[in-house]
């Protein structure tokens, strides 16, 4: 394999994962929280693919494809929730979603 080794891919992956985690923690718009979640899932996928290449084993790719399906399902349900929130005239702000708080 020419080019950088597996460790370089893993470092990029964890950097982008922490950027996504920061987005989930800091942003208030549920849409951007969902986008940041997609970033986290994708950086996890990059680590899976890098390990798959390292061990020359296709199982990592199967894992990555399954994660991709889960990410798509999560986007459908999350966007459905956001549309439902906007129908109920709830503010689109994750800090103000307190109706389930005891």
């Amino acid at each position: 394999m020419s080019g950088p080794g597996i460790v370089a891919y893993l470092v990029v992956s964890i950097l982008v994962f922490s950027v996504g985690a920061l987005g989930v923690l800091v942003r208030r718009s549920p849409l951007i929280v969902l986008l940041a979640l997609e970033i986290m899932l994708n950086s996890g996928n990059l680590a899976l693919i890098a390990f798959s290449r390292r061990f020359a084993d296709g199982d990592g790719q199967i894992f990555a494809l399954t994660v991709m399906v889960v990410a798509a399902a999560e986007a459908v349900v999350g966007l459905g929730l956001i549309v439902a929130m906007s129908r109920q005239k709830v503010d689109l702000d994750v800090d103000k979603l307190t109706s389930l708080r005891g």
Binding site: A21, A56, G80
Partner: protein, 188 residues
Amino acid sequence: MILASFTDDVGNVLVWAIWVGAAFAFIASGIAVISFGDPFYSALALIVNLASLAVLYLLLESEFVAAAQVLVYAGAVIIMFLFVIAYLGGRADTPWVGGPRFQTVGAVLAAGAIAVEVIVVVTLKAADALGSVHPISASFGSPATVGRLFLSDHLLAFEVTSIVLLVAAIGGVVLGRSVPSEQRAEAE
């Protein structure tokens, strides 16, 4: 002989250049996604993120995953996001920083701690173990190989995946339905 090693060197430099460009675009567009105030620009930045990730997959010789990634994300997920953002109009905008200031500082510290911890562990403890890369056959990452794995060793995962997608589709329909009929009757 000299020419062969020269072309090898040029190829290697080219791979490095593409890798550095893709990795930089991956990180920079990730930061862009979480820093735009308007979700529309965030979704556009996510497209750059996904494209550079597909380039990294290609450099790891996982062609089918790269193609599936572009199809699933650019073709479906991003379109869905853009549709919802357009549907909500300006109501989806939020100013950049949420919560009191100490929360932001804590979040930055937490994210930085995750990154530093894992990078230190990976580079110090695992660099030797991960240094050697197994040789691969030409069909590694091809649709045929991935399909064979899905229908032999990972058949259960394949079937469960389709059930997950079905449940998500039903959930999307239920959530996106207009106001339930009982509620409408009460309102009337």
